[in-house]
Amino acid sequence: MSHRLPEHPDWLWRTPDPKRSYDVIIVGAGGHGLATAYYLARNHGITNVAVLDRGWLAGGNMARNTTIIRSNYLCEESAALYEHALKLWEVLPQELEYDFLFSQRGVLNLAHTLHDVREGTRRVNANRLGGVDAEWLDTDQVRDFCPIVNTSPDVRYPVLGATLQPRAGIAKHDHVAWALARRADEYGVDLIQDCEVTGFLRDGDRVIGVRTNRGPINAGRVALAAAGHSSVLADLAGLRLPVQSHPLQALVSELLEPVHPTVVMSNHVHVYVSQAHKGELVMGAGVDAYNGYGQRGSFHMIEHQMAAALELFPIFARAHVLRTWGGIVDVTPDASPIIGPTPIENLYLNCGWGTGGFKATPSSGWVYAHTIATGEPHPLAEPFALERFTTGALIDEHGAAAVAH
């Protein structure tokens, strides 16, 4: 007896062939590239846009992150950009008509040393001055907020307190990408997968398009949003960047009953962990030290992360690692992104988000769309210009990035 397959679900976006030219080509269909396309259409009415990806849509770091969303960075320039993102996150599920399980369950950044306490209280004060929600919790308050954290005093690095950002949380990363992709496609943006940029079309020094493995495509402006592959693309344009690409691993446990109500991060006992909607623990820690594009890392990084997790959460002792994987994080010397025009006319750059790009997805797209549409950096993006490495105006967020580099 034969059975007919059920109807395929509606595709969320078309699979067009590339046209000969577009007003804007975005290189990289990850979260930032898709958000940029969405806001180019929504805010600027620019829809003659293609988003190219050498692989499948949002198959890079957007598929591989630990989904933490927060804006509790130290410097006011960073806090403003991440807070802009958080405010956009708060309206996007309704605006995109897609429930991507954005859950504002708070984030704790634990303090285990006197330095941690000083850094944390300083950051709480800085956040409050900048209009970002932030509180300092003592050990008892940490225990009340997240009962499964080991707040015992007789461990090697006791929890002395924590910063709390109540509005922080998590979201389902793949669904975020698909929500943005669907709406961008509805606006008429062409999302083109399996299309690798292999070079740039030039007229003198100006960029006038891209070469791809599917032929040349002309463009008014070309905007890179390729995360870990940014240096590879920049090299094709003769541009060198202050970026190093490292593996960043993450992992999930098997599905567990709900035990972990919030997001907890610890710099000192290094791990960060949340529990996803369907029950898996989602965990990450530091980058692998070496440069690499292999989307995998070494096992000792996982071992150390496990030791930290079990130290902080004794209840996890019988959980199992179900799956580990890696992304390619484009790390800058100050752990802050690079956004804006390049010295090459019509070529724009948005990279260097390193270990912390997911949380910024909406505002990265918003400010990058503005920059591409107007030719001028959006005010929130201006401090993150490539030139800051020459002027010395670095924005050092290694501490607040909360990922060991």
Partner: protein, 68 residues
């Protein structure tokens, strides 16, 4: 994990090494004569190839010393 042959200490585990990034980046011969952008290039810009690369590392003096 990776065992790296240090010419001074012998074979040590990779975690004992501090990763120094791109190898053979010479300190500028005349640093005072560099422009701001040239100095920034030296400080911050490094190769980032997708493929084999040479990187530098060092072990701190006490790496591998036994505890007392």
């Amino acid at each position: 994990m990776l065992l790296i042959a240090c010419p001074w200490c012998g074979e040590r585990e990779e975690l004992e090494f501090h990763y120094g990034g791109q190898a053979h980046v010479a300190y500028p011969a005349n640093p005072e004569g560099l422009s701001d952008s040239e100095w920034a290039e030296y400080l911050f810009v490094r190769d980032n190839p997708k493929g084999p690369s040479r990187s530098a590392g060092h072990t701190p003096p006490d790496a591998g010393a036994g505890s007392t």
